[in-house]
Subunit: 360 residues, 2 copies
Amino acid sequence: MRVGILGGGQLGWMTVMEGKRMGFKFSVLDHDPESPASKVADRWFPPERVEDFIKASEVITYEFEHIPQEVLEKVYDLTIPSVNLLELKRSRIREKEFYRKEGYPTPDFIISSGDRLSEDIKTFGFPCVVKAEKLGYDGKGQYRVFYSEDVDYILKNHHSEEKFLVERLVDFNFEFSLIGVRDSRGNRKIYPLTVNYHEGGILLYNSTRALQIKEAEEILLSLMENLNLVGLIAVEFFYTWDGKVLINEMAPRPHNTGHYSLDGCYTSQFENLLRAVCGLPLGSTRLKAPSGMVNILGLSLEDISLQELLSVDGSKLYWYGKSKKPRRKMGHINITATTEQELEEKIERLLNLIYSHEPS
Amino acid sequence: MRVGILGGGQLGWMTVMEGKRMGFKFSVLDHDPESPASKVADRWFPPERVEDFIKASEVITYEFEHIPQEVLEKVYDLTIPSVNLLELKRSRIREKEFYRKEGYPTPDFIISSGDRLSEDIKTFGFPCVVKAEKLGYDGKGQYRVFYSEDVDYILKNHHSEEKFLVERLVDFNFEFSLIGVRDSRGNRKIYPLTVNYHEGGILLYNSTRALQIKEAEEILLSLMENLNLVGLIAVEFFYTWDGKVLINEMAPRPHNTGHYSLDGCYTSQFENLLRAVCGLPLGSTRLKAPSGMVNILGLSLEDISLQELLSVDGSKLYWYGKSKKPRRKMGHINITATTEQELEEKIERLLNLIYSHEPS
């Protein structure tokens, strides 16, 4: 099977590695030949060679949502999941309006723009979260607003005509995510629930929990049907103090909160994406053992001690080979344990080992 | 870490893939740039460029025993496990004499040569196994001898001055193997026992068994010390009907009977080899779930049905990308299950799916 991947980041890198193991051949479309996935793929193409990329691929998938429109138009026919799903993700406003229209629970929101933002927020009420409409991931273009003065800071970074989503700040009990996979015959499987911990809008760590939240599973199954998805979908939820389940956001691709599946599950999210888009039977999403993941943010291999990290029983290092930038996702550690309690202790230990080395 | 690997086969391929995940860089020395490991390594060198291969490597290890003497002499200083261990493996006679000298149990044997073989076997007794001294793996150069006439067949394939090992044919209850890993500080870990099924001298499948054979573990631990091993050692044993443990052979490298560890254990044999030779702490060899492996011998991707194989819950395909030859190891499937009984049923199903497609 010859698979094309739009985007060369670590999600593509893990997809390529899982597929190469099975004898698949990969092409990656990315402007950077040194991106993680570009380096391990059989062929790399820059965006201006999208026609050659298409010729090299029997099927195309994506690991990144923010793909230029002109590329999406060209790859449309070969791409799974459907390019249409990315339309929803091109605008945070469109995504939220979709949830409202279809009756999926999500934090209350209004739509605003730079010139009306101060006024709209005063009416909507504090505290709230203001999100720029476009190009947002890993907390980019997101602001928590507690006082009127916070709005001035936002407006310094954006044009007055820009559109914003203004959401109620949810005081949640915990954040969790579910990842689902669906094939072209409509078969669906759900990965175990993970509880997630973000810091400044970036996932820091997560771990599986023997916890079934029926309402969230039903939302996920319904979303897969509703979107006629073939491939993966990850949905991040808030679980509020009064027991409500609210969708924070979704992504129709492999997801950082599913990295643990490489070591924790019978079939990883990456392999199941490939199985789904290549028309192969979906693999079991069952858990072998409680497992989790700790992101390594903004640190190089020289900043961490492999001696210490690998001495944590059951830790597996994934290193993406990217150049270091503050808070950038440089790698992660998957961790497996016998019990959930042991798992939490190991995650705590890994966090201490990784981040106590950070220059203060 | 820049690691050099002597040999480009599938053992090297899996070692490279496990190490690349951790950010290691690999060079492979092999005459074939299209060998499995050559294709995934960062750099490939043919044997005549061994000096450049050495310059590119901080540490060197091997995935194959039959490395030319002139190469071994040049890589000696950088190579872990010690090149001295390969001396034992260059001659089946030397290996067996080592076991006898050190008091390790092994099937009874004599040493013979082409011109004396018929006579020696008559004295030693039938049935026996005759093994050519050199270059033997996967059943090559091995013959079961039940009658005097069988010797004539052997002598057609070998020179009269060639040396042979003549072993008692052991009527064993089962074959099993243990894989151990030892670091330079003398820390040792043992992988779970697997029961192995060979066909015509080639491993067909194996699976973990919750069975501890203390005597075999002690032999393995003693061997690691005795050989002052840093790295992996795999020992294949016979378990006789009267409860004796006999060493069949050993290999100081990753082993086909340890492939399951990629999906079944906290740390794979390949990662632990890299950890040992790079001076990193050894990883846990514990089992996540009962698991096993089925070799795909002499078949291409077109000869098997991925649809069927991947529909077996918990199966993971490893495809080496080699050209097809009769009985050649082309790939394998790792399989994980909840119980040993479920595991055996799945292996049975995989064997039927793979080999019922073989042209008769």
